[in-house]
């Protein structure tokens, strides 16, 4: 029999305990074991971003993360950004700016946007940042496009995604 390992994580505010095959990715643990299907599987190779979730506040590719390595972690999906069923500035901005078409990459885009806005606020530079030593990152359209380029959108709603992130970041 396959060895399983006990795992305890918080998913969208709820404590979840399970036993997983050590080969199980965080994405498969969420989708297949916990029925949390908000993060999507677009490539399973960390190349598309559809599986992006927030782990302890930072955006990660859940398909490249082994579940057993995240014991005790706080995992937030696009469906858990606003506790109590309220709205979140990023999801609101995505809706207001029609920043999606088919919607499959969208939960990953939303989590990635939350992470990207936070990274910029903490002064983390990107390849589009002119002054790498500076403290302030101005999240203009070029910065947003660069920071969101790990999340592919084949419908190519990129123009509206950038506008949505710009709007959410300004709140």
């Amino acid at each position: 029999m396959t060895t399983t390992i006990p795992l305890s994580i918080t998913v969208d505010g709820e404590q979840r305990d399970l036993d997983v095959d050590p080969r199980t990715t965080l994405l498969d643990a969420l989708r297949e074991r916990l029925a949390v299907t908000t993060p999507k599987k677009g490539c399973d190779h960390g190349q598309c971003g559809a599986c992006t979730v927030l782990v302890d506040g930072r955006r990660v590719l859940s398909c490249l993360t082994l579940a057993v390595a995240k014991d005790g972690a706080d995992v937030v999906t696009a469906n858990g950004l606003a506790p109590d069923g309220g709205s979140h500035p990023v999801t609101e901005a995505f809706l207001a700016n029609d920043a999606f078409q088919c919607g499959y990459c969208t939960p990953g885009q939303v989590c990635s946007a939350v992470g990207a806005i936070d990274e910029a606020r903490r002064g983390m530079p990107s390849a589009a940042t002119a002054d790498l030593a500076g403290d302030d990152v101005v999240l203009d359209r070029a910065e947003i496009a660069e920071r969101m380029s790990g999340n592919l959108c084949r419908c190519a709603a990129y123009v509206n995604i950038v506008t949505a992130v710009e709007e959410a970041a300004s709140r």
């Binding site: 809706l95 660069e146 969101m148």
Partner: protein
């Protein structure tokens, strides 16, 4: 003819399913998590052509957690629907590498994948041909992928070319490309009391139902409420769906889920086949075309024919008294090609619109003016008048908005901070038609009108736009409409394809609304209902109907590295009435990004030794990412076309991509003086050309 009055149509109603999509709670076909679900992992052929001589499943079957291993030796028999792609596990013949030869069902994905690796398949390999050689053995297909004849001739094009004062002859190549919707194909299937219940990622639930019902000679239900992109690959069923339903039949009562991996998206769900296009244009000194020739050689699969109709748009774009299009097919031992966004027009416009640009250079004429001078008054082949044709207006208004006239026409003139800048134009068309066979039902219940039709929302916004159409057809607010789509439990809907979904379903909804009002007036009782089938378009044989676009591109090419960027794209469209400006603009812009991606990134590379796409993932097969897209804008002209349908709307799903690659290639020439005639255009194309400097 006049179009119907619009109150909601033409306004930017928000996507109805938006809240479900931004929270990830909209259910896609792979999101089914019912207890007892078995995960399917396929075993795929490792040879491109041959016969299976033995399959050893003993090690796989012995693995704990494996529920079944299905092979051609024990798979249920399928009826033959005439599509070789659907003969899954029905015999020993291997037609292409990656073909499904067995399926493992297991409790968990990890176990299924491991068990699939333990299945040992022996082959008697046969010689195969998988590399596309346009000069290799080709044949004349009986029909193109769109059903049209492979060849067309008007006048004597060869004689006209020989006599023309100015002639451009050049060959253009477009590569194999894969659709790669973000949602890989997925099927969840359960057999209950001899019926198959299928949750499918599909551009047409009823087409999927019909196909499966024929193959399995059984009742089939298909639901497909949300689809993570299609672009043509989720229209006709591919082998994976058949495999899932077939395997599920061996474990009655248990759901079986097969969500394709990204790699399988390069092996079993079709692609746009490679083409080489031999163009010849003969013109008078004033630019008027004497002859237009578009001879296409394209790849197809040996076991299933699909021929990209790349010469199709050359039959209608420009006037010329002497003209020819032809299509020849080279059969390969590969997965079968299929429809991919703007099949025919997307690659075909690269050949035609680059050749027109080369002719403009040869004539020392503005390429916009050259196109205007060759604007036909009627369809150049069949003589039908156009229901509307906005190409010249698109060119004029687009040029104005783009600032076209501020650029010196000569190439290689503008070097800014180490980047060569240039601009280019490319045009395009896509047919506007209506598919028969839908039925819409309208029921008044609880003070609202429920509109039911088996349409598909693959991201284009069918739910939203059909709500707007129904509201206007019934003369009520959108809040009084509830649209139900995406299931075979509803009246039949045609597919989301051919840029004809909204036109087909919308015409049907309008007809049903008219009948509803005729029957019940403005004050219906609860439960009143009416239905209607898709009405024929009485004008279909009277007019040539199509959408048009003029695409403008500015490129910047790094003088040292040859890196190409596209700082600006503008598409100006003549597409009838835009039903929802926000959704419409997004769809058109998305198509334009596809064009950018086609121009600079996309190419599936087949290793001819093995018949395998070697860049079979999203790291190796590049599609445009966010930062590849700079300033991009889609605009449209006012166009009132009462002949296409009551809404006056031409399809917009595909026209966005058409002409973009040519515009970028032409702009690259304008920037650098280097003419690249094969896609994608990459740094090495420029750096290896002596003219680049």
């Amino acid at each position: 003819m006049t179009t119907m009055d619009a109150r909601s149509m033409g306004t930017s109603v928000r996507r109805i399913e938006g809240p479900d999509k931004v929270t990830g709670t909209a259910p896609y076909a792979g999101d089914t998590v019912a207890d007892g679900t078995l995960v399917l992992y396929p075993v795929q052929a490792t040879v491109a052509r041959g016969e299976i001589t033995a399959i050893d499943t003993s090690a796989a079957t012995a693995l704990p957690g494996v529920a079944a291993v299905v092979t051609h030796l024990d798979a249920p028999r399928l009826a033959d629907d005439g599509d070789p792609e659907h003969r899954v596990l029905q015999g020993t013949t291997v037609h292409h590498r990656g073909q499904y030869v067995a399926a493992v069902l297991a409790d968990h994905a990890e176990v299924a994948a491991e068990a699939a690796r333990l299945v040992v398949v022996s082959y008697d390999e046969a010689p195969s041909t998988t590399g596309f050689d346009p000069d290799g053995g080709s044949y004349t297909p009986s029909a193109l992928g769109n059903g049209q004849a492979p060849d067309s001739v008007v006048g004597d094009p060869d004689a006209a070319l020989a006599a023309a004062p100015v002639v451009v002859k050049a060959s253009y190549a477009t590569p194999m490309e894969h659709h790669n919707p973000m949602e890989p194909h997925a099927t969840t299937a359960t057999w209950v009391d001899g019926r198959a219940i299928v949750h499918e990622a599909s551009q047409g639930a009823d087409l999927a139902r019909q196909t499966l019902a024929t193959l399995f000679d059984a009742e089939v239900e298909v639901s497909s409420p949300h689809v993570g992109g299609g672009f043509g690959t989720k229209g006709f069923l591919h082998a994976g769906t058949v495999l899932a339903v077939l395997a599920a039949r061996t474990v009655p009562g248990r759901p079986v889920r097969f969500a394709l991996g990204r790699r399988q998206m390069f092996e079993t769900v079709g692609y746009r086949p490679a083409t080489v296009q031999h163009m010849a244009l003969g013109a008078e000194a004033d630019g008027r075309l004497d002859a237009l020739v578009h001879d296409v050689v394209g790849a197809t699969a040996r076991y299933k024919e699909f021929v990209e109709p790349a010469g199709g748009s050359s039959r209608s774009m420009y006037a010329a008294p002497h003209r020819r299009t032809s299509h020849r097919a080279v059969p390969l031992d590969l997965d079968a090609p299929t429809y991919m966004r703007a099949p025919g027009e997307a690659p075909g416009s690269f050949g035609l619109e680059c050749a027109m640009d080369e002719l403009a250079v040869a004539l020392d004429m503005d390429p916009i003016e050259l196109r205007v001078r060759n604007e036909p008054s009627v369809h150049p082949e069949n003589g039908l008048p156009f229901s509307s044709r906005g190409l010249v207006e698109c060119l004029r208004t687009g040029a104005e908005r783009f600032g076209w006239s501020t650029w010196d026409r000569a190439p290689r003139r503008r070097l800014v901070d180490g980047w060569w800048h240039g601009v280019g134009v490319g045009c395009g068309t896509f047919p506007a038609f209506r598919m028969p066979g839908s039925t819409a039902e309208i029921t008044f219940t609880g003070g609202r009108y429920v509109v039911a039709i088996g349409a598909a929302d693959i991201g284009q916004g069918a739910r939203t736009v059909l709500t707007q159409i129904a509201a206007d057809a019934l003369g009520v607010d959108v809040g009084s409409i509830e649209v139900e789509i995406g299931s075979t439990s509803l009246p039949v809907g045609s597919i989301a394809g051919g840029s004809a979904g909204t036109a087909s379903w919308g015409s049907t909804v309008v007809e049903a609304a008219d009948r509803f009002r005729d029957k019940y007036g403005e004050d219906p009782d609860d439960g009143d209902h009416a239905d209607a089938a898709t009405p024929d378009n009485p004008w279909a044989e009277e007019f040539a109907m199509a959408a048009y676009v003029a695409q403008f591109a500015e490129v910047a090419v790094h003088a040292d590295t040859g890196e190409i960027r596209v700082p600006r794209l503008l598409g100006t469209f003549g597409v009838g009435r835009i039903l929802n400006p926000t959704l419409g603009r997004s769809q058109l812009q998305g198509g334009m990004v596809w064009g950018l991606s086609m121009a600079l990134h996309e190419e599936s590379v087949v290793d001819p030794r093995f018949g395998e796409v070697i860049n079979h993932d999203l790291a190796g097969y590049h599609i445009a990412a966010n930062a590849d897209v700079r300033e991009i804008d889609a605009q449209w002209i006012d166009e009132d076309d009462g002949y296409v349908n009551p809404m006056g709307a031409k399809g917009i799903g595909e026209i966005g991509i058409v002409g973009v690659a040519a515009a970028i290639a032409n702009a690259t020439y304008h920037a650098t003086g280097v003419r690249v005639r094969s896609l994608p255009i990459t740094c090495d194309d420029l750096l290896t050309d002596p003219a680049f400097g």
